[in-house]
Subunit: 237 residues, 2 copies
């Protein structure tokens, strides 16, 4: 019997219209749809494409507990084995991935476990980096800018050091790290230039200046864009 | 009379199936479609979405000469004025942008000239960065990696210095810069880890190791991915 194909499907940042034609086609033809979900059953990735799913598709939530005792390894092993059963039975499986699957996504953990055993294809998705610049309405990078993506989890020292060698940057994973990140932006004189966005492309999207953000309630789905300052006019390049 | 709306529409990296549902909807409803084109009339951005364009749409090629005597400024001024006439007449205008419009795109030059006069909306697109990692089949960034995008036009010294502070990187704008970039990868011991891709997501796509690339004929549509080395297993984060 033929084995099924594993798809990592980027579903974009929240607005269902930001999925690609290819993602839509694959979503509507696979037998099995898997997605990261929380213990209470909620799945952000699933909610983005809910309207496109078919009632005869098998759904496999990949649940990670809120509080992880040790590593998440055991949970990914279990999820991968469950998907492997479907793939071995000849069923195609799409794993939904918020944004782009290979860009800071958890799909890697499934990919690393299954891609050697099953044909695997990744469908790139609109990343929160590009979506956020578009929603804020600010060009991100020009010409030969050095562009950087940093995680808010990094230490103040590391953030400060790295930001200094970039012409433009995006800082993801804010949440409780926001206060620390704001401190670094202040030290580097970047508070005016930077823009904060939460829930980009979703109905509850908000764009704020750094000083407007309520430090205590920064959600997981938020990031800071520090756009390029280069506005000089060049060739198509 | 109402003014028209200006759209910067990301059309992705080459495969027409990688445009978003939103880009498709806008492409099919605007009266005017503009796109960068070369003097001989070829337009890569237009070719991606040719099948979706309507015969009654007005097309506006934005032509930049191959050899620019001075700055491109005068050409963008002229193109912006041409689009402004349509917008002032109440026509919606979509400017096609290869990849994502705000990510090293030339759409900025139109945006900077018109966005204060006309309602402007940017539709994010699949960037060559994400598309290339997906096509190569290698996870780009994990967890709290520092990710960097560099231009091959930068000097050997700058490339070397910047690459050393990144966990994962993409180097765009190779072409005649390939030899220099390869030299830097060799010095930093990155030749094995790095992957080269040209014409990602197009029919003539090729993925090569750095040593396989014919240095003399590296095309414009090519880039190098240096994926993260972090494969340890973590939480969804
Ligand atoms: C684990 S990373 C996943 C990134 C995703 N794979 C992508 O391509 O955008 C999660 C982080 O992405 C950012 N993010 C994702 N979606 C977002 C959205 N809709 N609005 C703002 N930030 C978002 C947040 O910083 C969040 O902490
Ligand atoms: C001016 S930048 C435009 C980037 C584009 N806005 C994006 O989001 O991908 C042009 C560079 O992007 C890279 N590029 C764009 N499309 C590509 C493709 N299909 N395959 C490989 N590289 C590509 C090449 O390095 C090229 O020199």
């Amino acid at each position: 019997m033929n084995l099924g194909c594993l798809y990592g499907v980027g579903v974009g940042t929240g607005n269902p219209e930001l999925i690609t034609l290819k993602a839509l086609r694959i979503l509507q033809t696979v037998s099995v749809v898997a997605y990261p979900a929380s213990e209470d059953g909620n799945s952000f990735a699933r909610s983005i494409v809910a309207e496109f799913l078919q009632s005869n598709q098998i759904e496999v939530p990949i649940v990670l507990p809120f509080k992880l005792e040790k590593s998440a390894q055991a949970f990914y092993n279990k999820a991968a084995e469950e998907l492997a059963v479907h793939l071995s039975g000849g069923k195609d499986v799409a794993v939904l991935c918020e944004g782009d699957p290979f860009f800071y996504g958890s799909f890697m953990y499934i990919f690393n476990r299954l891609s050697q055993r099953f044909t695997t294809e990744v469908i790139p998705g609109i990343s929160s980096v590009m979506a956020s610049a578009a929603m804020i309405g600010v060009p991100l990078t020009y010409r030969n800018d050095v562009f950087m993506v940093l995680s808010g989890i990094l230490s103040e020292e590391v953030l400060r050091e790295k930001l200094q060698v970039a012409d433009a940057a995006v800082i993801i994973k804010l949440g409780r790290n926001f206060r620390k990140v704001k401190q670094v932006l202040q030290e580097l004189g970047l508070v005016e230039r930077a823009k904060y966005i939460e829930y980009a492309t979703m109905e509850n999207q908000r764009v704020l200046s750094i000083n407007e953000v309520e430090v205590e309630t920064v959600p997981y789905f938020s990031l800071i864009v520090i756009p390029s300052q280069l506005k000089e006019l060049g060739v198509w390049s």
